[in-house]
Symmetry: none
Subunit: 188 residues, 4 copies
Amino acid sequence: MARRYDPDRRQRLIEAAIRVVGEHGIDGLTHRRVAAEADVPLGSTTYHFASRDDLLHAALRQTGKEWLAGAELWERSIDPGVPFVDELVRLLQESLSGDRRRARLEYELYLAALRHHALRPQAAECLDGLATLLRRRTPDDATARALAALLDGLMLQFLLTDREAGSQEIRGMLTGILGAAQVVTPGR
Amino acid sequence: MARRYDPDRRQRLIEAAIRVVGEHGIDGLTHRRVAAEADVPLGSTTYHFASRDDLLHAALRQTGKEWLAGAELWERSIDPGVPFVDELVRLLQESLSGDRRRARLEYELYLAALRHHALRPQAAECLDGLATLLRRRTPDDATARALAALLDGLMLQFLLTDREAGSQEIRGMLTGILGAAQVVTPGR
Amino acid sequence: MARRYDPDRRQRLIEAAIRVVGEHGIDGLTHRRVAAEADVPLGSTTYHFASRDDLLHAALRQTGKEWLAGAELWERSIDPGVPFVDELVRLLQESLSGDRRRARLEYELYLAALRHHALRPQAAECLDGLATLLRRRTPDDATARALAALLDGLMLQFLLTDREAGSQEIRGMLTGILGAAQVVTPGR
Amino acid sequence: MARRYDPDRRQRLIEAAIRVVGEHGIDGLTHRRVAAEADVPLGSTTYHFASRDDLLHAALRQTGKEWLAGAELWERSIDPGVPFVDELVRLLQESLSGDRRRARLEYELYLAALRHHALRPQAAECLDGLATLLRRRTPDDATARALAALLDGLMLQFLLTDREAGSQEIRGMLTGILGAAQVVTPGR
DNA sequence: GATGAATGAGAATTCATTCAT
DNA sequence: TATGAATGAATTCTCATTCAT
């Protein structure tokens, strides 16, 4: 019954916490639910994570790391012979295909920094990590950061509206905006 | 004790709810706090808004409407003699200057749709409203929607990282991305 | 929309109240639910039935009356050529066949008199009504009342245990007890 | 403030719950009242009995056990030299003498199974327990169960109508019904 | 007469956290 | 070190009832 010696418990609790957020949202993250999800006594969760915020923190750190790892994988798999825009389309489409629960979960944790100051460094790290990756394909830092913002905005647009993310559609949006310099200032 | 007759109470409750979200976040939106904020009995809030979700709904509807009105104001004030990019810079800077609490509040409600299905139509309305406005300045729908996504992404980037939003910096990001068509696929 | 003139509303409310008790139990009988069930404004239920107890009262009065009417129908349909025990079996079986919700509802209201003094006269009326009917087939009042008790006890036994009420089984129980005089005092 | 260590608390809560039902009825069984009755903090009742149903369950289990123990005591005290009917009269009269609050309480909990499915096994256990006891004095199972039903019905009749339960009267009813085999089918 | 609004009380639950063991 | 028990605060929600219209 009682796992007297259980060195990975902390990690297992983090993973349980992430599943709990996925299921019940950030508001629904409680010691009790994590304990139940990890099949561990309640006291154990409060022992390893004294406060609810500690749990939240650890959850964001973990998903952020995993998400960034995924982005790096994408970056390393880029085919130089393929237009970069198409690689961006692939990134977005992969994130939005299948059930979107994972993407929603990641964004929910990431955006929680909007309110919780303590999470902002964590969120910034994700953002900067992506920008750094993108920087290898952009002429300057500003463009890389803007591209990161665009990707976030597009992801959210699909997640918020529940619209299908067809590759033609994504492609249209990306090419539209990326080549928009002349367009939006027609008077020029 | 209090007014037995109070025809505007419902609206006052909505405004109180928005202030509560601003102060305590969405998780902190409770009937009790709204009652206290609006100075009405607790039962009155549950009478007008049977569930917490009803309250949340009304709050998003209201801020969404106000935000869209602000965007329209901006659009109507656009000076055709000024490069459109600069008008976009102005929009972002105005939203991010001063204390950012209002912007955070609006985004928090807007992004709540990520988890709460019921709010998605509301969020989509905001998004589409902005895209419609922008459409007057873009060659096609896709570009308008992409531009809306970009603006969201940029707003979030500043809000999440707590970075200053200088007009030069914003300008750099916008011009970088808008003219990025050639750049990101240098080989072409 | 508003039924300005609606003379049968009181009766419709009673019937709605009975349905509510059937669905939610006596504890679940509330003005609100009755209003919803009868599709009538809340204020209308409190107007016609000032208190919850009034509603409960009316509901018991009505089901008691209907139940007694059913019993009388049974009594009048008794075939003199058939052993009376078989007619009792028929009565029980009919009450327990199909879904037992109606029977449960009637007993729930009837037994509420156990706690609510005010309902006792009503319950006594049902009991005495049945005893009076049975009296036509028993040698004296005491036997009639005892038979009424037996029938109640048997009904409850089947309702409480959820057991099937086969006619052979009921018959066995009835004949066992009715001829038990000699048996239970074997020494006599 | 109160005892941090209190090993019998659970049991004390059950007893408090039974007193609360006795005082306020099943509908009146609330965590709050139990807490007050047992003089423990509200949170303690919800800790030990997460839901109102758990409380109800425990209360019925306890009274059922006690009631059955009483019945066994009666059975063991039966005098073989006395007609069994008189022993039945004694059982009923003892249960109905003095204040009938205990009897009402027991029946209220027992009959709650009518609505609450989850309580039915508990109620069935009481019923079967009594039938088993009676079986030692009846020729077959059916008669034992019918006798149990008769006793229930008689108890309820007195409890519902508030009539005095004189021993002559009870005796008359019992002998009437037990010897009714010939009577109710006079034509036979 | 009829009714929508209002109100205050109280319901079940859930919880973070503390503490004795 | 780990943990079950305990606690007090807060949550949503439902309600009977009252009252102004």
